[in-house]
Symmetry: C3
Subunit: 659 residues, 3 copies
């Protein structure tokens, strides 16, 4: 089943609205609501006094109408009585200032009080609702991120974590290279969280700190997951992640979950609308890649966001529906829109829901009604299908963190470059899985591996093996620079991949925002920026050359045959056109399926089950576009024949079954 849901907060409304709202949901085709997220102060108004009656009542209101319920655990917002009694609940920043309540997320993952009270409230909720027929599963907390808490509890846990990892101070001093600048520790007690907030500290230490932070979040979540698994064996457990890029390691975080859920807010600004559909495609492919299976959208755009920032533009007609279908096209199995109606009070008043404060359903709600009808109609068809890709693009929170800690060149951003490569693939209609760099990649024909800055032998060997078995691998600049301790390797770059790539970097120039150009084998010239590796070929053949500066004429990119596959090395960051041209040729050669003449802003994706293959065609732009299909098809969405020439209105969607 592909289900439609909404986020609903009964505690924000008078009781008499609940029935009206639920009735309208039922009529609209809503099949699921998420409740109780953030409601701790209502569920436990004072320590040990629990009040679930109102939630029972609310759940029944939905249950009576056949609407399922997902419950959020309320641990994102510890109530004031808890904060007052146990101030260790509050995280403290690098200057030791507490993050005070009043906003949300004011909880230290390592606070003993926070852990104890969280387990207790979750246990009460889980026990109470484990048997309720409407309740199907749980969302733990909300949009986890790294706290960067510097409290005594975190300090102590960090030391324990390090001690478990390195066993001895000597080993830690060696691994981090603390001898530089007399940073050697002679006692564990000298190690603290990064106080003072400066970014100029030992990068090995800073990276381990980020890893510890992820583990703290994962542990905090595990406490709740254990309670839920124990009390509610029939329920699923998930968490709604906050999008990308992210310092928190989602791969670790989601290990314990049944599936990943995403909060998805594509940008509505006209200026960004052309590119935001592509960034969104990457976000969705990444989310699917976390657990390598279908996922949920736990929140998505229903109107203009805004509140602690000026409001965004309102979504254009068709925007809400088109981006909802984009989620399905890339593997979402449930869509929960945030939120039913704007909050009248509190800090999120202008994060608009489907219905405005006036409670008069308007244009956006009408669009949602249509979407519900369509999804419910196509649900039997799509149910059980998923996305299968021949191409993979690698991503890692560890790499993101390491490259945030030490920016390499002005304007060089790990995640922006990932978007660049993925966008070029999406424009070519290359379906790709966005996977952790440590993932098993057997079976992929085409692997894009951006900036494997930290690299260990296991990953390097696995990539090499994939190539020997026939894969095409794209390696880029800033690969093989460091070991996993964030310490530089004393080898010619790209280090552990140099032999496989058949090149070494004789020198590099961090050109930053200066614009240079390269000439490719195809005779075309492209701009490049950020970085130039000057290559020395040791087996590889050049495929592009620099045209500027003292390294004009030197190879910028190369290809090397290895076993049954090929390794490309790209020493520079070029403009998007380069990647479109390059991937078109390289992916074709690798035998990857393409859909190469998509107009700007139009995306395709295929979901399949067994032999059935459903092609989604989405015009995620503000312009009319024409797509050329290989033949005519019956639209699964509208009762009509379409193609081979398909004219699409802005934000129009089509779904066809491929022959």
């Amino acid at each position: 089943m592909i289900k439609m849901g909404v986020d609903y907060y009964p505690e924000h409304w008078e009781r008499d609205l609940w029935d009206q709202d639920a009735e309208l949901m039922r009529k609209t085709g809503v099949r699921l609501v998420r409740l109780a997220e953030f409601a701790w102060s209502r569920l436990e108004p004072e320590e040990d006094r629990y009040d679930f009656a109102w939630l029972d009542d609310a759940i029944d209101v939905f249950h009576r109408r056949g609407i399922e319920v997902v419950l959020g655990t309320p641990t994102n917002t510890p109530p004031n009585w808890l904060v007052e009694r146990h101030p260790d609940v509050l995280p403290v920043d690098s200057l030791l200032h507490p993050r005070n309540p009043g906003i949300r997320g004011h909880r230290c993952y390592n606070s003993p009080s926070m852990r104890q009270y969280s387990e207790k409230i979750v246990d009460k909720l889980a026990s109470h609702y484990s048997k309720h027929p409407a309740v199907v599963g749980w969302q733990i907390d909300n949009e986890f991120a790294l706290n960067e808490c510097h409290c005594e509890n975190c300090s102590e846990r960090f030391r324990q974590w390090l001690s478990a990892k390195y066993e001895s101070l000597e080993a830690l001093n060696r691994a981090w290279g603390t001898v530089v600048w007399s940073g050697e520790y002679s006692s564990w007690s000298q190690i603290n969280p990064p106080l003072g907030g400066t970014a100029f500290k030992n990068p090995s230490y800073l990276l381990d700190w980020k890893r510890f932070e992820t583990d703290s979040v994962a542990e905090f979540q595990q406490l709740q997951a254990d309670v839920l698994r124990n009390r509610c064996p029939g329920h699923f457990v998930t968490h709604n992640i906050w999008s990308y890029p992210m310092s928190l390691d989602y791969y670790k975080l989601c290990e314990t979950l049944d599936f990943a859920s995403l909060d998805y807010y594509p940008n509505t600004s006209p200026e960004k609308s052309m590119i935001s559909g592509y960034s969104g495609a990457l976000t969705l492919d990444l989310t699917r890649g976390i657990k390598r299976r279908n996922f949920w959208i736990m929140e998505t755009i229903s109107g203009p966001p805004g509140c602690w920032f000026p409001m965004w533009r309102t979504p254009q007609p068709g925007f809400i529906r088109a981006f909802a279908w984009q989620c399905v096209s890339r593997g979402a199995d449930t869509l929960v829109h945030f939120r039913w109606r704007n909050a009248p009070a509190g800090a999120e008043q202008f994060w608009h829901g489907l219905i405005d404060h006036s409670n008069v359903p308007g244009r956006r709600f009408e669009e949602y009604v249509k979407l519900c009808e369509e999804v419910n109609r196509l649900s039997p068809l799509l149910s059980g299908s998923t996305v299968k890709s021949e191409a993979a693009i690698l991503h890692s929170h560890d790499l993101y963190n390491a490259l945030q800690i030490q920016p390499q060149a002005e304007g060089m951003d790990y995640f922006d470059n990932l978007k660049l490569y993925h966008r070029a693939m999406t424009k070519l209609g290359i379906q790709s899985d966005a996977l952790n760099t440590t993932a098993d990649l057997s079976g992929y024909r085409f692997i894009v591996a951006p900036s494997l800055y930290l690299l260990d032998k296991r990953v390097a060997r696995h990539l090499e093996e994939c190539v020997r078995n026939g894969a095409t691998l794209i390696v880029t600049n800033r690969s093989g620079v460091k070991n996993m301790n964030n310490v530089c390797r004393m080898e010619p770059l790209p280090g552990l991949l140099a032999e496989a790539a058949g090149v070494s970097v004789s020198e590099y120039d961090p050109i930053g925002k200066d614009v240079h150009s390269i000439r490719a084998k195809n005779g075309k010239t492209y701009t490049c920026a950020q970085w130039c590796d000057i290559l020395e070929l040791s087996g590889a053949a050049p495929i592009a050359w620099y045209e500027d500066d003292f390294f004009a004429g030197k190879p910028a990119a190369s290809v090397h045959s290895l076993g049954d596959g090929k390794v490309y090395y790209l020493g520079m960051i070029a403009e998007e056109n380069f990647y479109v041209d390059f991937f078109r040729e390289a992916a074709s050669e690798a035998g990857v399926e393409l859909f190469p003449d998509l107009p700007e802003g139009v995306q395709i994706s295929v979901r399949q089950k067994g032999e059935e293959r459903y092609l989604f065609i989405l015009n995620l732009s503000r312009n009319r576009q024409t797509v050329t299909l290989d033949q005519a098809y019956s639209s699964q969405l509208h009762e009509r024949r379409i193609g081979p020439k398909l004219d699409m209105e802005p934000y129009e969607v089509e779904i066809v079954e491929l022959a």
Copy 2:
């Protein structure tokens, strides 16, 4: 009497300069000095040791020359001995860092020590000078603003204030909607000032915090006012406000005062000089509107300001005089120039006075001499006259604060829009009173009410009543959004004014800095930005339509007849020309007096007493301009006939008596 004065600091100079200075003032026509502001450490060098001898001496120096004295209470700058002995005097910021002495304004309004010592020094001064024949009145403290102090005393007082306002925690929780994000308070002790400084907190709480802050200032001032009223029944009491926009509610602050005083520093930069005269006109109209009567200028520009920022441009020849006359034209009855001579030491060395450090009077002083001569000459004529307006523009510190707490759209600024509307009126020669939104508006023909975002029934009904009685009312976007608790109303916008306006907002698009266009009934096209309300007419007639986006063709503005008057609703923020064209027509229809062909930068204003009406014509620009009067007049300022064609040099001023 219209009087000329200067700010003078005898304590900054050797004793022998006092007589020279006073003598030159006398010759120049200075009739008043302000003294003793900031002089606490000289008046009470140690606790309970008072030294007024030097001030007696200084006052006598002026008294002997017939110059009156206004005394400033020195509470803006508690002396070091007080701070050292009672650190609770210092305000603390949201991270609990004290604002240390060394600059000024380092005093918490709720500090018991500060209150006690302030009362004592004011009492001593008031007792000592109550009978001095030269002393005519008092300025309390200096340029009050909100402290945003987070100390224990403020916390405690805030809780008391809330308890007095809401009576119960339940009522407060309900009024603020604290249930959102589990923010419910179960004990008063959980309520704190906004620690951590984040703006993402509950907006109802944040707005009440601002109101509490205003009340704290007002209370602190009242303590001093009570002493002064008691000891010096014959003296006036005022305060010098710091200009606009301002979080502190001047209406509340000035309730206890005899009249408002303004510190007025028009911008000298060539780039800003064209617009700063218009912003100044609004500032002056607002100042007159605080007490709805004439006011004083307690400080105004005498040379380039500068010190903790790079110096401004020096005022052009004529600038100082022209802006002084602008003050008079809009209701100032006394002009005190800041300051006689630049301070040689301290942080304000380069905030230039009339005379430079060299003590050689120069170009600026010569201009001042001329100004004194003119003001003293015309004083009998203008004395007792004031400004009377047919138009009003509404303003509120509460609205300003609420819209600062939650910016609505990128580039949308409450006070900037107020300036836009007022500027258009000023360019049309429409004299307006700038009044509190809660003011009695009976008798005005034309009322501009920008963004009544917070609105209660009393104000809505009063506006409606004014319209029924014949007024023309201009309502804009973001009106009727919330109740006075900063909680959204669950009604179609503009909420309480929807019926009177005959429209409702079916949807809006916060377009921010995107530029769209509208077409008006007059056939012209204008750009708009910030916001677009898409209107649904329910009785009103459209007067402008959108030309862009999915709402092209939809009404952007409308007019609705109601009783003997009209309500215009403007759903967008357009370029200035729109308002000039629109106000010209709408104000004419409403029977408001216009002076519509003023050249850029030229302002007019009328002061009247009984039948006498004095027209001020000010060229507040760097360019020569030609004004066309309805007939020829005798200049009251120069011995000449002027008009109907009047050529004006940059910064030239004319005053004529209207027929």
Copy 3:
């Protein structure tokens, strides 16, 4: 001897690399290494446990190959055990947050613990190495700067320092003008460091605070210098300064040293490369001016810098060599390149050395090899020579600080203007000494004295005397404004120099970023910005006039004959061309040697000993340039005849002996 050296960190590398590295150094012609800077945690791993064995070993590795050793005292980086045991070691910022270890420079100069432990480790090192034949001298600490520490020890020392300077509180209150804003102190205990970090405090106080800070650094250094002088009478003592502009007073700091050393990193960005050679020339002239003798380069660019900021561009071919020769040309007698090889770990991984992490010597190293060969070859020729100048340009850290405390006009920057004047001179081939404003200037023919904002009689009289004896003096706007207490003088500007200059400033306009123009006596028009003094001539003759605004036609600059010399007064800051034209004429008239037709980016400098004069010609640009010499010469660097027409490749260098 002109020596080549490198910075080397044996503690960063495995022992077996030391011999390889030293062997390669020997072959390359490296004659000196700097060691042990930052190595405290290795030298004293725990309190009172010293381990010098590794350093003995390392020194021997070099000694065996005839390479001399400079030792750095490691006090820049107190080890963790010291910080943990004595937290007073850490400086605290204006909000009382400690600067935590993990970066470097985490030591309070006034901390009793820091002083005690520093003396102890330096004493141990000095005793141990005083007799080692390889060790030739010491570098104390690293790149001193003002700490701006606000700890209790600093507070107490500051009070003592003030008490020693002013003797009584009354005198201090008077000198600082604390009466302004009631800032008078009635007890020493009320005086604190500038807590709260605001720049709006009393400028006299803020300037004395900076002076105290310099004295704190100098005292901290003196403690170490005393130990070193005592233990190692045959060794030199120096410190590596961090470049300009700088709040710390290098003149005071270097009094105790044998010579100054500079860390020199010219900017590699293409955009800045044209100007950075000129800024570098000033830096080198300033460094030579500190002790008025030749100096060392203790660190200089060997590859792209980067780490806590994105990496810079790599130095172009020839860049490293050319800038090294620039140092020699302006008085450097030893060049120590930073660093031999990139650090593999720690926060400075990407501050590139001569050899990259791969340890494969590349292009940059080849260039260094060539440089070593050249320097070693020319060393006998150049040894004992120095730079002699007829022109001087005055500089002062006190002025820099005073003008940072109170920026005068937008875009007006004391040091940027100094660069402007020096650049114009350098473009004309005018060799100049950049000296402290208090220096003895007898013998200079041409003295440029920018913005003598603080001025005392001694300096004013000395300048006047120089002029009477035949010198040409250039005085600029913002001269004579204040006394040395940062209090304004009550005299017409330029105050103490008004008579000598034969002008007074009747008024000024801080035009900031507005662009105006002047017309000079030569008939040409130039833009000006920042500031306009309107001059009243009292003996001087005008040489330039304003063309804009109300002061159009008024003199902007003037010349006045006095005794055998002349005083120019420049009331504005003009574009560079003005100074090139003006200095060309004024310096020629003063009989100063010029080289006036140098192409953009080409610099010359002369070193001489006795009658021998060596002309350095440096193309510090990315373009080929042609220089016209007065005749043909033999290149001392290459075996060839050059000139009179000399074509120079980018970054090419020539050295000839002048006839």
